[in-house]
């Protein structure tokens, strides 16, 4: 029988196991243990169990060991915390079929078919907050400080930081990528006037207020790095043209 991943937390010296399979198994186990503990606590509150004391001891022991773990695995723990906080790892764990161990990468993102756009941002956290809080994107993966992957508006949006490893690195001639420019993604909204008013109230920079075009009305807002995002409200009755044969 396989060892309980929670055993790692019960040991006085916590072993460092770098395998993603281990991290995933541990998180699964913690999740189920927490659910089990909650059930027991509920029972205890209604007087059907006397195990609360034991649970308290176990939790204290886990916390003590967790302190050691933290000291031992500081860098790694921070990375895992970030993933947990972002929900990426949790989603990954819950989406793994029990019969199949996770394959390969420690940072696993869901595979979707969304058209992909890369934007450059100087401040990764500020950009993530902007797209998630203001425009309803979901954070799929954050690999601070250089990269994040979001989903929203039908897009997969990659955020890269100029000057850092990855897509932000300088070109062979020394040119460094930068935020800005006029090219942009377009997000369709039901009421562009209301959307712009709400965003403006929230402190978002509006580069060009609502104006009428041929097939609808649009406005341009800026993310914290100065990249444009176009908000577009199609004119009533507008329909996408069918593909030519």
């Amino acid at each position: 029988m396989a060892a309980d991943p929670l055993d790692a937390l019960r040991l006085s010296v916590v072993p460092v196991d770098p395998r993603p399979e281990f991290t995933a198994a541990l998180l699964r186990r913690i999740t189920s243990a927490a659910a089990e503990a909650q059930t027991r606590i509920n029972e205890a509150v209604t007087g059907t169990s006397e195990e609360v004391g034991n649970i308290g001891l176990a939790i204290q022991r886990a916390l003590d060991n967790a302190e050691q773990m933290q000291a031992q695995m500081q860098a790694r723990a921070a990375a895992i915390d970030e993933l947990v906080a972002s929900g990426a790892l949790e989603r990954h764990v819950s989406s793994q079929p029990a019969s199949q161990p996770p394959q390969g990468a420690p940072i696993a993102a869901r595979v979707r078919d969304n058209p992909t756009v890369r934007y450059f941002v100087g401040d990764l956290d500020a950009a993530i907050e902007f797209y998630c809080q203001r425009l309803g994107f979901e954070e799929e993966l954050r690999s601070a400080p250089a990269f994040a992957m979001l989903y929203g508006g039908g897009f997969r949006l990659l955020l890269s930081v100029p000057g850092l490893p990855g897509a932000g690195r300088a070109l062979p001639d020394g040119t460094v990528p930068a935020a800005g420019g006029s090219n942009r993604i377009t997000l369709q909204v039901a009421d562009v006037t209301a959307a712009v008013a709400e965003l403006r109230t929230a402190g978002v920079r509006v580069r060009a207020d609502v104006s009428a075009g041929i097939a609808g009305r649009q406005a341009l807002i800026e993310d914290p790095a100065g990249n444009l995002v176009e908000l577009y409200e199609p004119a009533a009755g507008y329909q996408e043209r069918p593909l030519p044969p």
Binding site: V111, P115, V117, P172, N183, R207
Partner: protein, 136 residues
Amino acid sequence: MSTVSVRYIVDDVDAAIAFYRDRLGFRELMHPDPAFAMLTHGDLRLVLVAPVPAGHPGGGSRPMPDGTTQRPGGWNRFMLQVEDLAAAAGKLRAAGVTFRNEIVDGIGTRQVMIEDPSGNPVELFEPLRAEARLGT
């Protein structure tokens, strides 16, 4: 049918249509005005617009309220997945397409940046790991 829309500013809409159609496999949906075209590639709708004066009926490429003209270029870009980046890059180079860099192996993808005739970047990538692959 396209599900999302990206707008690129171009100097010459006809040259841009030819580039995206002949080099990257886009299909032309409409080109009703010299300053406007709509192309499609899978789920991506690419709207190509040339800068127009303030009074122009087309709303997407007028100057900003502060007078700034919209321009091609910059670094933000859409990405197209290819199965064999070296082969794709070889074909594009032979066709005279401008490359902004050489093929780079990143963490999730092998990638390269090409430019359309107006200097807008397009990133071509070949997934190196499952999470970077579009579609299943």
